[in-house]
């Protein structure tokens, strides 16, 4: 163990964490010995991940060392997250790293003074940092030196109200509503177009002249050979699964370049959540991934519980696990239906929506909502299971394999389906890691990384299930992996439905969970804690955490920072689709126009969590 005494991090909320344990981490010791003075502080976060605060000038060197050093091998950059503690305090940039080989996580923290908000970009090491850094720039105004294309990503290109996630930025924006509407509608076409598009258009203008000259010289035999066309797909398009816009530069039918534009659904979740109490954030979470809403509820509650150091009851754990797997099925069934419809198979859509309606019925029986469920509370669930719910769920689970068989009979060996998917949008394991893919997309490329196995939560380690992996990493592999995942989910559900223990669903902690109504009316203690919880909300101790679960689309991360008050200082949601979508240009460039639809459907995105 290193004998160096860790200094407290300047300008940073520090929870009560054992510093000696942090120093014991292999990576921390290696960083200490290599970077010495540049390491400003070390500690553990709420789930025990080492956090290393490092000099901004050395962060690129440190990332480079952590990626390339054989003992470290942090090959997956999960997230780059900004945070503003408010006041005159410095702006923070957090890097979340994961090492596949060693199964270790590490968080790097950079503190940037407001006068000099710049840090070296990590895009050359991790291509996944491209969009993640652009988002930090968009929201906090941190400039990443050496980033090839640092411009706004979620807000409009010419947004001039400031950097929304900074604490001095008002929740409703700086201008009046009428001024915001006027500015939005007055945005000229040139402003709406991105710089890249204008560059493409410039190429367009230059080329016909060259062709003409060649034609006059009698050299242009293949007149159309070099002619490029730019087409705009979206944001209102039936096959983009939401308001995604793709600018495609074509050479005939071949795609030369693909530039995704996102942010048409940027809802300001992260900003709005900073103005809500911890329990009030729950309804926001299920509106981010409306295809599998409960996974967000469960992940968020788990993250806050780890900050509070609250352990949920065994019954709650199994109920949450059942809800997780039901929602995995819900999300995958929607992907199956719409994905098949995108390549021309409409029947499957109707079959899967029938099953989804059955799952919705279970949602309704449990919480009253179909999509916007908001089922979790910190320390438990909104209610205990209603009588007969488990039997209804068992019936549904037993009927599901038949529907999957039917869908597979229609698709798997269908020659049209195969012609559209096989060898389309190939990404190999190495590239997939570089782009930061997670979930079924990464597993289809052959890497068996599943958060349920790598860092088990909700007791997943006690269940018997397999992690399917692909071989080629094409759209067809992604289809096969997801189909098998649904069968594994059914397997988990069958085990879990027989394991639901009796007992309370909520923790018996008056500081977290509202007391029983009858108790609140009869006992003074219960009434006081009821009053305090309703008026002040759950008090979460100061600290921070990176907590992740396996959502339908990949690793869903929650980066929370608390200063001990009733509201979060920072609520970061790492929507897996955001990072997965950044790989789309790699998947489609060089392919045909029709492959864009198939590739886009195969990576399974949901714009709600991409734009947040």
């Amino acid at each position: 163990m290193s004998s160096t005494v860790a200094e407290p991090l300047p300008d940073l909320v520090v929870g009560e964490q054992p510093l000696a344990d942090a120093e014991a981490s292999v990576s921390v010791r290696a960083l200490r010995s290599r970077f010495g003075e540049a390491i400003r502080g070390v500690r553990l976060d709420a789930v025990g991940t080492p956090v290393v605060s490092i000099d901004p000038a050395r962060v690129h060197d440190a990332l480079s060392f952590l990626k390339t050093d054989a003992d470290q091998a942090y090959d997956l950059l999960l997230d780059v997250m900004g945070a503003d503690p408010g006041g005159d305090l410095v702006i923070q940039v957090w890097y979340q790293l994961w090492s596949m080989e060693n199964g270790r996580m590490l968080r790097l923290l950079v503190l940037l003074p407001r006068a000099d908000l710049s840090v070296q970009s990590a895009v050359d090491l991790y291509p996944a940092a491209d969009w993640l850094e652009r988002e930090v720039y968009d929201m906090y105004g941190v400039s990443f030196e050496g980033h090839p294309d640092l411009r706004r990503i979620l807000m409009p290109e010419n947004y001039d109200e400031g950097f929304p996630l900074r604490k001095d930025f008002p929740l409703r924006g700086r201008f009046t509503r009428s001024e915001q509407v006027r500015r939005a509608l007055n945005r000229s076409t040139e402003d709406v177009y991105a710089r890249e598009e204008l560059a493409l258009a410039g190429v367009l203008e230059a080329e016909p002249a060259a062709e003409l000259a060649a034609d006059e010289a009698g050299e242009a035999e293949d007149y159309l050979a070099g002619e490029k066309m730019v087409i705009n797909m979206g944001p209102q398009h039936p096959a983009t699964h939401g308001v995604l816009r793709l600018v495609l530069q074509l050479d005939g039918e071949t795609i030369v370049r693909c530039i995704p534009h996102i942010g048409y659904l940027h809802t300001g979740f992260e900003k709005t959540c900073e103005y809500r109490e911890w329990n009030q954030v729950v309804p926001y979470t299920d509106r981010m991934d409306y295809l599998a809403p409960m996974l967000y509820n469960i992940g968020y509650a788990g993250a806050v519980e780890s900050l509070l150091d609250v352990e949920i009851t065994p019954r709650c754990q199994v109920v949450r696990l059942i809800m997780s797997e039901l929602n995995r099925l819900l999300g995958h069934l929607l992907w199956l239906g719409t994905g098949a419809m995108d390549v021309g198979a409409t029947t499957v859509f109707l079959y899967t929506f029938q099953e989804r309606e059955r799952i919705y019925n279970l949602h309704e029986a449990y919480c009253g909502g179909r999509i916007t469920t908001s089922v979790t509370r910190i320390g438990g669930m909104v209610a205990d299971l209603p009588v007969g719910w488990l039997d209804a769920c068992r019936e549904l689970v037993n009927g599901l394999p038949a529907t999957l068989d039917e869908a597979e009979r229609l698709l798997t060996r269908n020659s049209i389906f195969q012609a559209r998917l096989v060898d389309v949008g190939i990404i190999d394991a190495e590239k997939a890691l570089e782009f930061g893919l997670t979930g079924p997309n990464l597993r289809a490329s052959g890497i068996a990384y599943d958060v349920r196995k790598a860092r088990p939560y909700l007791g997943y380690e006690e269940y018997d299930f397999d992690v399917p992996v692909g071989v080629v990493g094409d759209a067809y592999d992604r289809y096969l992996v997801r189909m098998e995942e649904m069968r594994q989910s059914i397997r988990i559900l069958q085990q879990a439905l027989d394991r639901v223990p009796d007992g309370p669903i909520n923790v018996q902690d008056p500081a977290v969970i509202l007391p029983d109504k009858s108790e609140a009316m009869s006992s003074i203690d219960a009434m006081i804690s009821h009053f305090k919880l309703v008026m002040e909300g759950v008090q979460v101790p100061a600290g921070d955490v990176w907590y992740s679960i396996e959502a339908t689309k990949g690793e869903l991360g929650f980066g929370l920072i608390s200063d001990g008050g009733p509201k979060p200082v920072r609520c970061r949601f790492r929507g897996p689709s955001f990072v997965n979508l950044a790989a789309l240009p790699y998947l489609v460039e060089g392919g045909l126009v029709s492959d864009v639809i198939a590739a886009n459907a195969s990576i399974d995105i949901v714009l709600g969590e991409i734009d947040r």
Binding site: P170, L171, R177, R182, A184, L185, V192, P238, R287, F349
Partner: protein, 233 residues
């Protein structure tokens, strides 16, 4: 026995009243009846689905709720072949010019359903990026409450649009008037936008200047429809 059988009532299949007035009026009524009957039973929706509501819109098109029963199953993803815009989900300021352009591209006659709390009023997102009700941008015929509304609600809204079409007349083009100058412009004057965009619900605790400090004066916002009507003249 055959004489006991009651005579079946005569029904006009087109739904219009058989007018006994002057012949010219009778003819206009008849054309209206035919036109409105065909229009309302073959609405082609333009689904502008952005978020959660779009999933419920898809569920409405699924086999359980089956929007085809109302003749509106032909979702038209091109605005030029659509006559009913269903805005399902939150609309951001970045999306606003696109929404306006799609609406301008739709040929007359056209109607609009604002599906869900976000499209109708901004919903739970009273922040820097969400338009506080699409009626600031385009005219709306039916607002559907809910977050998201159930498929039954959307079907009911569709029936309300059909009811509205029933009362329209070719001789009265008032509600079809659209100036080319209005293309790309807000639907409401600035003061009306300020009025309808005042904070709703739990956001009354914040004020516009800081967004953090609680405002002591909690004014109960007047009814949205009432405010809109004030600015209709």
């Amino acid at each position: 026995m055959a004489d006991d059988r009651k005579k079946l009532p005569t029904v006009n299949p087109l739904g219009g009243d058989v007018d006994t007035g002057p012949p010219a009026s009778w003819l206009i009524t008849k054309v209206d009846a035919v036109v409105n009957w065909s229009r309302r039973n073959s609405l082609w929706p333009m689904p502008l689905g952005t978020a959660c509501c779009a999933i419920e819109m898809m569920a409405t098109a699924g086999s359980k709720y089956d929007i085809a029963r109302f003749g509106a199953e032909r979702f038209s993803f091109s605005p030029r072949q659509a006559d009913l815009m269903i805005v399902a989900g939150r609309v951001t300021y970045k999306m606003a010019p696109i929404l306006r352009r799609i609406w301008d591209q739709m040929p007359q006659p056209k109607w609009c359903i604002s599906m869900g709390a976000c499209a109708s009023s901004g919903g739970m997102f009273d922040n820097y990026t969400i338009v506080q009700g699409i009626d600031q941008i385009i005219p709306v015929d039916v607002y559907v409450p809910g977050c998201p509304p159930r498929p039954e609600s959307l079907l009911y809204a569709l029936m309300m649009v059909q009811e509205k079409i029933k009362g329209e007349s070719l001789a009265n083009p008032v509600h079809r008037e659209e100036s080319p100058d209005s293309a790309g412009k807000p639907n409401l004057p600035p003061e009306a936008i300020e009025l309808v965009a005042q904070p709703f619900g739990n956001s009354t605790r914040q004020n516009r200047i800081s967004g953090v400090e609680g405002s002591s004066a909690i004014s109960r916002p007047r009814d949205r429809r009432e405010r809109l009507l004030e600015h209709q003249d």
